[in-house]
Protein backbone atom coordinates (compact mmCIF):
# COMPACT_ATOMS: atom_id res chain seq x y z
CA UNK A 1 0.00 0.00 0.00
CA UNK A 2 1.37 3.40 -1.01
CA UNK A 3 1.95 6.00 1.69
CA UNK A 4 -0.79 8.49 0.64
CA UNK A 5 -3.35 5.66 0.61
CA UNK A 6 -2.05 4.47 3.97
CA UNK A 7 -2.51 7.97 5.44
CA UNK A 8 -6.04 8.16 4.00
CA UNK A 9 -6.83 4.80 5.65
CA UNK A 10 -5.43 6.08 8.96
CA UNK A 11 -7.51 9.27 8.74
CA UNK A 12 -10.66 7.27 7.92
CA UNK A 13 -10.12 4.87 10.85
CA UNK A 14 -9.35 7.80 13.19
CA UNK A 15 -12.47 9.69 12.05
CA UNK A 16 -14.70 6.62 12.46
CA UNK A 17 -13.24 6.00 15.93
CA UNK A 18 -13.83 9.61 16.97
CA UNK A 19 -17.39 9.64 15.63
CA UNK A 20 -18.21 6.29 17.27
CA UNK A 21 -16.91 7.52 20.64
CA UNK A 22 -18.79 10.76 20.22
CA UNK A 23 -22.03 9.07 19.21
CA UNK A 24 -22.12 6.05 21.52
CA UNK A 25 -19.71 6.87 24.30
CA UNK A 26 -19.30 9.44 26.99
CA UNK A 27 -16.29 11.47 28.17
CA UNK A 28 -14.84 8.42 29.92
CA UNK A 29 -14.33 6.76 26.53
CA UNK A 30 -12.29 9.77 25.46
CA UNK A 31 -10.25 9.74 28.70
CA UNK A 32 -9.50 6.03 28.40
CA UNK A 33 -9.01 6.26 24.62
CA UNK A 34 -6.54 9.12 25.07
CA UNK A 35 -4.38 6.97 27.37
CA UNK A 36 -4.41 4.04 24.94
CA UNK A 37 -3.50 6.33 22.02
CA UNK A 38 -0.75 7.93 24.09
CA UNK A 39 0.70 4.46 24.59
CA UNK A 40 0.47 3.81 20.84
CA UNK A 41 2.65 6.89 20.24
CA UNK A 42 5.04 5.98 23.09
CA UNK A 43 5.39 2.37 21.93
CA UNK A 44 5.91 3.43 18.30
CA UNK A 45 8.51 5.98 19.40
CA UNK A 46 10.34 3.44 21.57
CA UNK A 47 10.31 0.93 18.75
CA UNK A 48 12.18 3.24 16.35
CA UNK A 49 15.27 3.01 18.54
CA UNK A 50 14.61 -0.17 20.53
CA UNK A 51 12.94 -2.33 17.89
CA UNK A 52 14.40 -1.17 14.59
CA UNK A 53 17.94 -0.47 15.88
CA UNK A 54 18.04 -2.87 18.84
CA UNK A 55 19.00 -0.18 21.36
CA UNK A 56 16.87 -0.67 24.49
CA UNK A 57 15.86 2.66 25.96
CA UNK A 58 14.80 2.64 29.62
CA UNK A 59 14.55 6.43 29.69
CA UNK A 60 11.21 6.84 27.88
CA UNK A 61 9.77 8.68 30.87
CA UNK A 62 12.55 11.28 30.56
CA UNK A 63 11.66 12.17 26.97
CA UNK A 64 7.95 12.07 27.79
CA UNK A 65 8.59 14.44 30.71
CA UNK A 66 10.55 16.89 28.55
CA UNK A 67 7.48 17.21 26.33
CA UNK A 68 5.20 17.59 29.34
CA UNK A 69 7.37 20.15 31.10
CA UNK A 70 7.99 22.20 27.96
CA UNK A 71 4.20 22.68 27.87
CA UNK A 72 4.17 23.53 31.59
CA UNK A 73 6.98 26.04 31.02
CA UNK A 74 5.27 27.87 28.17
CA UNK A 75 1.94 27.76 30.00
CA UNK A 76 3.59 29.33 33.08
CA UNK A 77 5.26 32.00 30.93
CA UNK A 78 1.84 32.75 29.44
CA UNK A 79 0.28 33.09 32.90
CA UNK A 80 3.03 35.48 34.00
CA UNK A 81 2.65 37.57 30.86
CA UNK A 82 -1.00 38.14 31.70
CA UNK A 83 0.04 39.54 35.07
CA UNK A 84 2.60 41.98 33.59
CA UNK A 85 1.96 45.71 33.30
CA UNK A 86 1.06 46.83 29.78
CA UNK A 87 3.98 47.88 27.60
CA UNK A 88 5.38 47.28 24.13
CA UNK A 89 7.06 43.99 25.04
CA UNK A 90 4.09 42.69 26.98
CA UNK A 91 1.69 43.61 24.19
CA UNK A 92 3.82 41.51 21.81
CA UNK A 93 3.89 38.69 24.34
CA UNK A 94 0.11 38.97 24.72
CA UNK A 95 -0.18 38.20 21.02
CA UNK A 96 2.10 35.15 21.32
CA UNK A 97 0.70 33.74 24.58
CA UNK A 98 -1.12 31.57 25.37
CA UNK A 99 0.51 29.30 22.82
CA UNK A 100 -1.98 26.91 21.16
CA UNK A 101 -1.61 23.26 22.16
CA UNK A 102 -0.68 22.04 18.62
CA UNK A 103 2.28 24.47 18.68
CA UNK A 104 3.22 23.21 22.15
CA UNK A 105 3.26 19.69 20.72
CA UNK A 106 5.78 20.83 18.11
CA UNK A 107 7.88 22.54 20.83
CA UNK A 108 7.73 19.44 23.05
CA UNK A 109 8.83 17.25 20.14
CA UNK A 110 11.65 19.65 19.24
CA UNK A 111 13.04 19.86 22.80
CA UNK A 112 12.83 16.10 23.34
CA UNK A 113 14.42 15.55 19.92
CA UNK A 114 17.30 17.85 20.88
CA UNK A 115 17.79 15.96 24.14
CA UNK A 116 17.67 12.77 22.08
CA UNK A 117 20.48 14.13 19.93
CA UNK A 118 22.56 14.97 23.00
CA UNK A 119 21.82 11.59 24.55
CA UNK A 120 22.86 9.94 21.33
CA UNK A 121 26.19 11.71 21.23
CA UNK A 122 26.89 10.79 24.84
CA UNK A 123 25.66 7.22 24.92
CA UNK A 124 25.56 5.64 21.49
CA UNK A 125 29.08 4.33 21.69
CA UNK A 126 27.74 2.17 24.49
CA UNK A 127 25.97 -1.03 23.61
CA UNK A 128 23.56 -3.50 25.19
CA UNK A 129 23.00 -3.24 28.91
CA UNK A 130 25.39 -0.28 29.23
CA UNK A 131 23.29 1.81 26.86
CA UNK A 132 20.10 0.75 28.68
CA UNK A 133 21.55 1.83 32.04
CA UNK A 134 22.72 5.15 30.57
CA UNK A 135 19.21 5.95 29.34
CA UNK A 136 17.77 5.06 32.74
CA UNK A 137 20.31 7.41 34.31
CA UNK A 138 19.25 10.12 31.88
CA UNK A 139 15.65 9.90 33.11
CA UNK A 140 16.88 10.19 36.71
CA UNK A 141 19.00 13.25 35.83
CA UNK A 142 16.07 14.95 34.09
CA UNK A 143 13.78 14.15 37.03
CA UNK A 144 16.30 15.67 39.46
CA UNK A 145 16.51 18.83 37.35
CA UNK A 146 12.71 19.14 37.16
CA UNK A 147 12.26 18.52 40.90
CA UNK A 148 14.64 21.40 41.58
CA UNK A 149 13.20 23.78 38.98
CA UNK A 150 10.72 25.92 40.87
CA UNK A 151 9.50 27.83 37.82
CA UNK A 152 7.70 24.72 36.53
CA UNK A 153 6.47 23.74 39.98
CA UNK A 154 9.43 21.72 41.24
CA UNK A 155 8.51 18.84 43.49
CA UNK A 156 5.17 20.50 44.39
CA UNK A 157 3.91 20.25 40.83
CA UNK A 158 2.11 22.75 38.64
CA UNK A 159 -1.53 23.32 37.81
CA UNK A 160 -2.66 23.82 34.26
CA UNK A 161 -6.28 24.78 33.96
CA UNK A 162 -7.56 24.03 30.48
CA UNK A 163 -10.85 25.48 29.26
CA UNK A 164 -13.90 23.26 29.72
CA UNK A 165 -14.86 23.35 26.09
CA UNK A 166 -13.26 24.03 22.72
CA UNK A 167 -15.15 25.27 19.64
CA UNK A 168 -16.07 22.45 17.20
CA UNK A 169 -14.89 19.68 19.52
CA UNK A 170 -16.95 20.48 22.59
CA UNK A 171 -15.46 19.04 25.81
CA UNK A 172 -11.71 19.67 26.12
CA UNK A 173 -10.92 15.96 26.42
CA UNK A 174 -12.37 15.41 22.95
CA UNK A 175 -9.98 18.03 21.61
CA UNK A 176 -7.03 16.30 23.31
CA UNK A 177 -8.24 12.95 21.99
CA UNK A 178 -8.23 14.29 18.43
CA UNK A 179 -4.74 15.76 18.90
CA UNK A 180 -3.52 12.40 20.14
CA UNK A 181 -5.15 10.71 17.13
CA UNK A 182 -3.18 13.07 14.88
CA UNK A 183 0.02 12.16 16.75
CA UNK A 184 -0.78 8.48 16.27
CA UNK A 185 -1.17 9.08 12.54
CA UNK A 186 2.14 10.99 12.44
CA UNK A 187 3.92 8.31 14.50
CA UNK A 188 2.61 5.31 12.56
CA UNK A 189 3.24 6.96 9.21
CA UNK A 190 6.80 7.86 10.21
CA UNK A 191 7.47 4.33 11.52
CA UNK A 192 6.06 2.73 8.36
CA UNK A 193 8.01 5.07 6.10
CA UNK A 194 11.23 4.31 7.99
CA UNK A 195 10.60 0.57 7.84
CA UNK A 196 10.30 0.56 4.05
CA UNK A 197 13.10 2.99 3.33
CA UNK A 198 16.89 3.01 3.03
CA UNK A 199 16.89 4.23 6.63
CA UNK A 200 14.91 1.14 7.68
CA UNK A 201 17.46 -1.18 6.08
CA UNK A 202 20.21 0.73 7.87
CA UNK A 203 18.43 0.42 11.23
CA UNK A 204 17.92 -3.33 10.68
CA UNK A 205 21.63 -3.83 9.97
CA UNK A 206 22.51 -1.99 13.20
CA UNK A 207 20.17 -4.30 15.10
CA UNK A 208 21.59 -7.42 13.45
CA UNK A 209 25.33 -6.71 13.38
CA UNK A 210 26.87 -3.29 13.76
CA UNK A 211 30.33 -4.33 12.61
CA UNK A 212 29.01 -5.93 9.44
CA UNK A 213 26.82 -2.87 8.90
CA UNK A 214 29.85 -0.56 8.98
CA UNK A 215 31.70 -2.92 6.63
CA UNK A 216 28.75 -2.65 4.23
CA UNK A 217 29.05 1.13 4.24
CA UNK A 218 26.31 1.93 6.74
CA UNK A 219 27.18 5.06 8.80
CA UNK A 220 25.97 3.48 12.03
CA UNK A 221 26.60 6.38 14.41
CA UNK A 222 24.75 8.85 12.17
CA UNK A 223 21.80 6.48 11.83
CA UNK A 224 21.64 5.87 15.57
CA UNK A 225 21.54 9.63 16.14
CA UNK A 226 18.66 9.92 13.69
CA UNK A 227 16.87 7.15 15.57
CA UNK A 228 17.36 8.78 18.99
CA UNK A 229 16.14 12.14 17.68
CA UNK A 230 13.04 10.66 16.02
CA UNK A 231 12.25 8.42 18.98
CA UNK A 232 12.81 11.21 21.53
CA UNK A 233 10.79 13.74 19.51
CA UNK A 234 7.77 11.42 19.25
CA UNK A 235 7.90 10.68 22.98
CA UNK A 236 8.14 14.41 23.71
CA UNK A 237 5.14 15.07 21.49
CA UNK A 238 3.14 12.43 23.37
CA UNK A 239 4.09 14.08 26.66
CA UNK A 240 3.33 17.65 25.62
CA UNK A 241 -0.46 17.28 25.94
CA UNK A 242 -0.21 15.34 29.20
CA UNK A 243 -0.37 18.42 31.53
CA UNK A 244 -3.62 19.48 29.81
CA UNK A 245 -4.99 15.96 30.23
CA UNK A 246 -4.27 15.73 33.95
CA UNK A 247 -4.61 19.39 34.85
CA UNK A 248 -1.91 18.90 37.46
CA UNK A 249 1.65 17.95 36.59
CA UNK A 250 4.14 16.73 39.16
CA UNK A 251 7.36 14.73 38.74
CA UNK A 252 5.89 11.64 40.41
CA UNK A 253 3.22 11.23 37.74
CA UNK A 254 5.26 12.25 34.70
CA UNK A 255 8.30 10.13 35.57
CA UNK A 256 6.16 7.17 36.58
CA UNK A 257 7.84 3.78 36.10
CA UNK A 258 4.82 2.60 34.14
CA UNK A 259 5.78 4.77 31.13
CA UNK A 260 9.18 3.16 30.77
CA UNK A 261 7.76 -0.34 31.38
CA UNK A 262 4.83 0.07 29.02
CA UNK A 263 6.95 1.65 26.28
CA UNK A 264 9.12 -1.46 26.31
CA UNK A 265 6.45 -4.09 26.98
CA UNK A 266 4.01 -2.99 24.30
CA UNK A 267 6.36 -3.34 21.29
CA UNK A 268 7.83 -6.54 22.78
CA UNK A 269 4.37 -8.08 23.05
CA UNK A 270 3.18 -6.79 19.69
CA UNK A 271 6.47 -7.43 17.85
CA UNK A 272 9.42 -5.11 17.37
CA UNK A 273 10.33 -5.60 13.73
CA UNK A 274 7.28 -3.89 12.27
CA UNK A 275 5.23 -0.72 12.83
CA UNK A 276 2.17 -2.93 13.43
CA UNK A 277 3.71 -4.57 16.51
CA UNK A 278 3.72 -1.53 18.83
CA UNK A 279 0.22 -0.63 17.62
CA UNK A 280 -1.16 -4.09 18.46
CA UNK A 281 0.76 -4.25 21.75
CA UNK A 282 -0.36 -0.79 22.84
CA UNK A 283 -4.02 -1.36 21.98
CA UNK A 284 -4.01 -4.77 23.66
CA UNK A 285 -2.13 -3.80 26.82
CA UNK A 286 -3.54 -0.28 27.02
CA UNK A 287 -7.12 -1.50 26.74
CA UNK A 288 -6.55 -4.30 29.25
CA UNK A 289 -5.09 -1.82 31.72
CA UNK A 290 -8.03 0.52 31.32
CA UNK A 291 -10.47 -2.37 31.85
CA UNK A 292 -8.46 -3.56 34.87
CA UNK A 293 -8.48 -0.04 36.31
CA UNK A 294 -12.27 0.14 36.38
CA UNK A 295 -13.00 -3.52 37.17
CA UNK A 296 -10.19 -4.64 39.49
CA UNK A 297 -7.80 -1.92 40.60
CA UNK A 298 -5.42 0.60 39.06
CA UNK A 299 -2.52 -1.09 40.85
CA UNK A 300 -3.18 -4.26 38.83
CA UNK A 301 -1.94 -2.51 35.69
CA UNK A 302 1.76 -3.18 36.02
CA UNK A 303 1.08 -6.71 37.24
CA UNK A 304 -0.81 -7.42 34.03
CA UNK A 305 1.97 -5.91 31.93
CA UNK A 306 4.63 -7.90 33.79
CA UNK A 307 2.79 -11.21 33.51
CA UNK A 308 2.04 -10.72 29.83
CA UNK A 309 5.63 -9.74 29.13
CA UNK A 310 6.95 -12.86 30.86
CA UNK A 311 4.44 -15.00 28.97
CA UNK A 312 5.34 -13.54 25.60
CA UNK A 313 9.09 -13.68 26.17
CA UNK A 314 8.70 -17.43 26.82
CA UNK A 315 6.03 -18.36 24.28
CA UNK A 316 6.48 -15.79 21.51
CA UNK A 317 9.76 -13.86 21.78
CA UNK A 318 9.02 -12.14 18.46
CA UNK A 319 5.63 -10.95 19.68
CA UNK A 320 2.22 -11.29 18.08
CA UNK A 321 3.55 -10.19 14.67
CA UNK A 322 6.27 -12.86 14.93
CA UNK A 323 3.66 -15.51 15.79
CA UNK A 324 1.61 -14.45 12.79
CA UNK A 325 4.64 -14.52 10.46
CA UNK A 326 5.63 -17.99 11.70
CA UNK A 327 2.08 -19.24 11.15
CA UNK A 328 2.03 -17.84 7.58
CA UNK A 329 5.45 -19.40 6.87
CA UNK A 330 4.31 -22.82 8.15
CA UNK A 331 1.11 -22.59 6.12
CA UNK A 332 2.96 -21.75 2.92
CA UNK A 333 5.34 -24.70 3.46
CA UNK A 334 2.54 -27.23 4.06
Amino acid sequence: MRTPLFIICEVVVATVLYLLFRHYGNDYFFFAGYTVLQFVVMATAWNILGGYCGYVNFGSAGFFAIGAYSSVFFYTVGQNVQDMDPGFLTSVLHVIFPIPVPILIVFGGAFAGLVGLGTGYLTLRLRGVFFAIATLALAVVIETLIVNWEYVGGSRGAYIIPPNTVPVFGPYIQYLFVLMLVMVIVGLTAARLIERSRLGYGFATIRDDELAAEASGVPTLKLKLIATVLSGALMGMAGSTFPFYLGFTEPGSVFDLSYAVNSIAMPMIGGTTSWVGPLIGAILLGTMQQVATVTISSVANLLIVGLMLIGFVIVAPNGIVGLWQDWIAKRSKS
Binding site: R207, P219, T273
Partner: protein
Protein backbone atom coordinates in the same frame (compact mmCIF):
# COMPACT_ATOMS: atom_id res chain seq x y z
CA UNK B 1 55.98 1.84 -11.68
CA UNK B 2 52.55 3.12 -10.62
CA UNK B 3 51.69 3.63 -6.93
CA UNK B 4 50.26 0.58 -5.19
CA UNK B 5 46.51 0.44 -4.53
CA UNK B 6 47.18 -0.36 -0.88
CA UNK B 7 50.30 0.79 0.93
CA UNK B 8 50.62 -0.35 4.54
CA UNK B 9 53.50 1.60 6.03
CA UNK B 10 55.07 0.57 9.34
CA UNK B 11 51.71 -0.30 10.88
CA UNK B 12 51.83 -1.29 14.53
CA UNK B 13 49.18 -2.40 17.02
CA UNK B 14 49.39 -3.52 20.64
CA UNK B 15 46.82 -5.08 22.96
CA UNK B 16 48.16 -4.13 26.38
CA UNK B 17 51.63 -5.61 26.51
CA UNK B 18 51.03 -7.93 23.55
CA UNK B 19 52.45 -6.73 20.26
CA UNK B 20 49.93 -7.85 17.64
CA UNK B 21 51.52 -5.98 14.73
CA UNK B 22 55.12 -4.85 14.70
CA UNK B 23 55.81 -2.24 12.00
CA UNK B 24 54.24 -4.20 9.18
CA UNK B 25 54.79 -3.05 5.59
CA UNK B 26 52.66 -4.31 2.74
CA UNK B 27 52.10 -3.08 -0.81
CA UNK B 28 49.34 -4.44 -2.99
CA UNK B 29 49.19 -3.45 -6.66
CA UNK B 30 45.95 -2.95 -8.54
CA UNK B 31 44.54 -6.20 -9.93
CA UNK B 32 46.81 -8.38 -7.81
CA UNK B 33 45.82 -11.58 -5.96
CA UNK B 34 47.71 -11.70 -2.70
CA UNK B 35 47.64 -14.55 -0.20
CA UNK B 36 48.25 -13.65 3.44
CA UNK B 37 49.16 -16.55 5.67
CA UNK B 38 50.55 -17.16 9.12
CA UNK B 39 49.96 -19.34 12.16
CA UNK B 40 47.11 -18.57 14.56
CA UNK B 41 47.84 -15.39 16.49
CA UNK B 42 50.29 -14.10 13.90
CA UNK B 43 48.31 -10.87 13.43
CA UNK B 44 46.55 -11.53 10.10
CA UNK B 45 43.09 -10.55 11.29
CA UNK B 46 44.50 -7.61 13.28
CA UNK B 47 46.17 -6.35 10.11
CA UNK B 48 42.88 -6.71 8.20
CA UNK B 49 41.05 -4.90 10.99
CA UNK B 50 43.58 -2.06 10.90
CA UNK B 51 43.34 -1.79 7.11
CA UNK B 52 39.52 -1.78 7.22
CA UNK B 53 39.21 0.57 10.19
CA UNK B 54 37.67 -1.88 12.66
CA UNK B 55 40.78 -1.34 14.78
CA UNK B 56 42.94 1.78 14.79
CA UNK B 57 46.64 1.26 14.19
CA UNK B 58 48.79 2.96 16.82
CA UNK B 59 51.74 3.56 14.56
CA UNK B 60 52.25 3.81 10.82
CA UNK B 61 49.90 4.67 8.00
CA UNK B 62 47.39 2.93 5.80
CA UNK B 63 47.40 4.52 2.35
CA UNK B 64 44.62 3.43 0.02
CA UNK B 65 44.35 4.65 -3.58
CA UNK B 66 46.93 7.32 -2.80
CA UNK B 67 45.17 8.71 0.28
CA UNK B 68 45.92 8.26 3.94
CA UNK B 69 42.85 6.60 5.46
CA UNK B 70 44.11 6.32 9.06
CA UNK B 71 41.40 8.59 10.44
CA UNK B 72 38.49 7.24 8.40
CA UNK B 73 35.75 5.08 9.92
CA UNK B 74 35.06 1.62 8.53
CA UNK B 75 32.06 2.73 6.47
CA UNK B 76 34.05 5.61 4.98
CA UNK B 77 36.76 3.17 3.92
CA UNK B 78 34.09 0.95 2.36
CA UNK B 79 32.81 3.98 0.45
CA UNK B 80 36.36 4.54 -0.85
CA UNK B 81 36.39 1.00 -2.26
CA UNK B 82 37.79 -1.17 0.51
CA UNK B 83 35.54 -4.11 1.34
CA UNK B 84 35.96 -7.20 3.45
CA UNK B 85 34.33 -10.48 4.33
CA UNK B 86 34.48 -11.83 7.86
CA UNK B 87 36.17 -14.93 9.20
CA UNK B 88 32.87 -16.04 10.73
CA UNK B 89 29.99 -15.11 8.43
CA UNK B 90 28.06 -12.13 9.78
CA UNK B 91 24.93 -11.89 7.66
CA UNK B 92 22.08 -9.59 8.65
CA UNK B 93 19.89 -12.33 10.10
CA UNK B 94 16.57 -10.49 9.95
CA UNK B 95 17.02 -9.56 6.27
CA UNK B 96 16.55 -11.91 3.34
CA UNK B 97 19.50 -12.98 1.19
CA UNK B 98 18.58 -10.37 -1.46
CA UNK B 99 18.15 -7.67 1.17
CA UNK B 100 21.61 -8.47 2.56
CA UNK B 101 22.98 -7.61 -0.89
CA UNK B 102 20.77 -4.54 -1.14
CA UNK B 103 22.38 -2.89 1.93
CA UNK B 104 25.81 -2.13 0.39
CA UNK B 105 24.13 -1.13 -2.86
CA UNK B 106 22.03 1.43 -0.97
CA UNK B 107 24.69 2.63 1.42
CA UNK B 108 27.91 2.38 -0.55
CA UNK B 109 27.23 2.40 -4.28
CA UNK B 110 24.53 5.07 -3.97
CA UNK B 111 26.64 7.06 -1.49
CA UNK B 112 29.48 7.45 -3.99
CA UNK B 113 27.58 9.90 -6.13
CA UNK B 114 27.09 9.41 -9.82
CA UNK B 115 24.24 7.18 -10.91
CA UNK B 116 21.86 6.18 -8.12
CA UNK B 117 20.31 2.75 -8.26
CA UNK B 118 16.54 2.71 -7.82
CA UNK B 119 13.68 0.20 -7.90
CA UNK B 120 14.12 -2.38 -10.63
CA UNK B 121 17.77 -1.42 -11.16
CA UNK B 122 18.47 -2.36 -7.55
CA UNK B 123 16.60 -5.63 -7.93
CA UNK B 124 18.45 -6.45 -11.16
CA UNK B 125 21.83 -5.74 -9.53
CA UNK B 126 20.89 -7.97 -6.58
CA UNK B 127 19.93 -10.81 -8.91
CA UNK B 128 23.14 -10.34 -10.91
CA UNK B 129 25.27 -10.55 -7.77
CA UNK B 130 23.34 -13.51 -6.42
CA UNK B 131 23.76 -15.34 -9.74
CA UNK B 132 27.49 -14.71 -9.50
CA UNK B 133 27.57 -16.73 -6.28
CA UNK B 134 24.78 -19.12 -7.31
CA UNK B 135 22.38 -17.92 -4.63
CA UNK B 136 19.75 -16.45 -6.93
CA UNK B 137 17.30 -19.25 -6.14
CA UNK B 138 17.58 -18.44 -2.44
CA UNK B 139 17.07 -14.69 -2.80
CA UNK B 140 14.01 -14.61 -0.55
CA UNK B 141 15.33 -17.00 2.08
CA UNK B 142 16.66 -15.86 5.42
CA UNK B 143 20.37 -16.46 6.15
CA UNK B 144 19.43 -19.05 8.79
CA UNK B 145 18.14 -21.25 5.95
CA UNK B 146 21.51 -21.29 4.17
CA UNK B 147 24.22 -23.94 4.36
CA UNK B 148 27.70 -23.05 5.58
CA UNK B 149 29.13 -22.65 2.08
CA UNK B 150 26.13 -20.59 0.99
CA UNK B 151 26.64 -18.36 4.01
CA UNK B 152 30.27 -17.84 2.93
CA UNK B 153 29.13 -17.00 -0.58
CA UNK B 154 26.59 -14.53 0.75
CA UNK B 155 29.35 -12.92 2.80
CA UNK B 156 31.49 -12.52 -0.33
CA UNK B 157 28.56 -11.34 -2.46
CA UNK B 158 27.71 -8.67 0.11
CA UNK B 159 31.31 -7.44 0.07
CA UNK B 160 31.37 -7.45 -3.75
CA UNK B 161 28.06 -5.56 -3.85
CA UNK B 162 29.94 -2.55 -2.45
CA UNK B 163 31.84 -2.51 -5.79
CA UNK B 164 35.24 -2.53 -4.09
CA UNK B 165 38.61 -1.84 -5.63
CA UNK B 166 40.13 -4.07 -2.97
CA UNK B 167 38.44 -7.06 -1.37
CA UNK B 168 39.87 -8.70 1.72
CA UNK B 169 38.56 -12.23 2.14
CA UNK B 170 39.24 -13.29 5.71
CA UNK B 171 39.29 -17.10 5.91
CA UNK B 172 36.36 -17.55 3.57
CA UNK B 173 36.92 -21.29 3.36
CA UNK B 174 37.26 -22.31 6.99
CA UNK B 175 35.27 -25.43 7.75
CA UNK B 176 34.35 -26.17 4.14
CA UNK B 177 34.78 -29.45 2.26
CA UNK B 178 37.40 -29.86 -0.50
CA UNK B 179 34.90 -29.28 -3.33
CA UNK B 180 33.43 -26.28 -1.54
CA UNK B 181 36.92 -24.82 -1.11
CA UNK B 182 37.53 -25.23 -4.85
CA UNK B 183 34.20 -23.54 -5.47
CA UNK B 184 35.15 -20.49 -3.38
CA UNK B 185 38.66 -20.27 -4.90
CA UNK B 186 37.13 -20.32 -8.39
CA UNK B 187 34.71 -17.59 -7.30
CA UNK B 188 37.52 -15.40 -5.93
CA UNK B 189 39.51 -15.81 -9.15
CA UNK B 190 36.41 -14.84 -11.17
CA UNK B 191 36.02 -11.74 -9.02
CA UNK B 192 39.66 -10.85 -9.60
CA UNK B 193 39.14 -11.25 -13.34
CA UNK B 194 36.36 -8.67 -13.04
CA UNK B 195 39.00 -6.19 -11.89
CA UNK B 196 38.85 -6.54 -8.10
CA UNK B 197 42.17 -6.66 -6.28
CA UNK B 198 42.00 -9.38 -3.63
CA UNK B 199 43.86 -10.19 -0.45
CA UNK B 200 42.99 -13.68 0.71
CA UNK B 201 43.73 -14.78 4.26
CA UNK B 202 43.67 -18.52 4.53
CA UNK B 203 45.05 -21.57 6.28
CA UNK B 204 44.17 -24.06 3.52
CA UNK B 205 47.46 -24.15 1.61
CA UNK B 206 46.09 -25.80 -1.54
CA UNK B 207 43.63 -22.90 -1.87
CA UNK B 208 46.33 -20.34 -1.12
CA UNK B 209 48.69 -21.81 -3.73
CA UNK B 210 45.97 -22.00 -6.41
CA UNK B 211 44.77 -18.47 -5.75
CA UNK B 212 47.82 -16.38 -4.95
CA UNK B 213 50.08 -14.56 -7.37
CA UNK B 214 52.06 -13.33 -4.38
CA UNK B 215 52.31 -14.69 -0.86
CA UNK B 216 52.90 -12.72 2.33
CA UNK B 217 53.69 -14.45 5.61
CA UNK B 218 53.11 -12.95 9.05
CA UNK B 219 54.54 -14.48 12.20
CA UNK B 220 54.18 -12.92 15.66
CA UNK B 221 53.05 -9.62 14.17
CA UNK B 222 56.02 -9.36 11.79
CA UNK B 223 56.20 -9.90 8.07
CA UNK B 224 58.77 -12.61 7.49
CA UNK B 225 58.29 -13.31 3.81
CA UNK B 226 56.82 -11.66 0.73
CA UNK B 227 57.20 -13.04 -2.78
CA UNK B 228 56.19 -15.66 -5.28
CA UNK B 229 54.23 -18.50 -3.60
CA UNK B 230 56.57 -21.27 -4.81
CA UNK B 231 59.57 -19.48 -3.40
CA UNK B 232 57.95 -18.34 -0.16
CA UNK B 233 56.83 -21.82 0.93
CA UNK B 234 60.40 -23.05 0.56
CA UNK B 235 61.76 -20.20 2.68
CA UNK B 236 63.42 -21.70 5.74
CA UNK B 237 62.01 -19.11 8.11
CA UNK B 238 58.47 -19.81 6.83
CA UNK B 239 58.93 -23.55 7.09
CA UNK B 240 60.27 -23.07 10.60
CA UNK B 241 57.33 -20.90 11.61
CA UNK B 242 54.82 -23.48 10.40
CA UNK B 243 56.55 -26.72 11.31
CA UNK B 244 58.66 -25.58 14.25
CA UNK B 245 62.39 -24.96 14.23
Amino acid sequence: MSAPLLHVDQVGKRFGGFVALDSVNLDVAEGERVGLIGPNGSGKSTLVNCICGTLRNETGDVIFAGQNINTLNTHERTHRGLARSFQLPRPFMSLSVAENIRVPLLYTVNARGGHHLHGSELDDRCVELLKLVALDKKANKLPRDLTQVEMRKLELARAVAAEPKLLIADESMAGLSHSEVEDIVALLIRLNQRGITIIMIEHIMSAVMTFSQRLVVLVSGKKIADGKPDEVIKDQEVVGAYLGQ
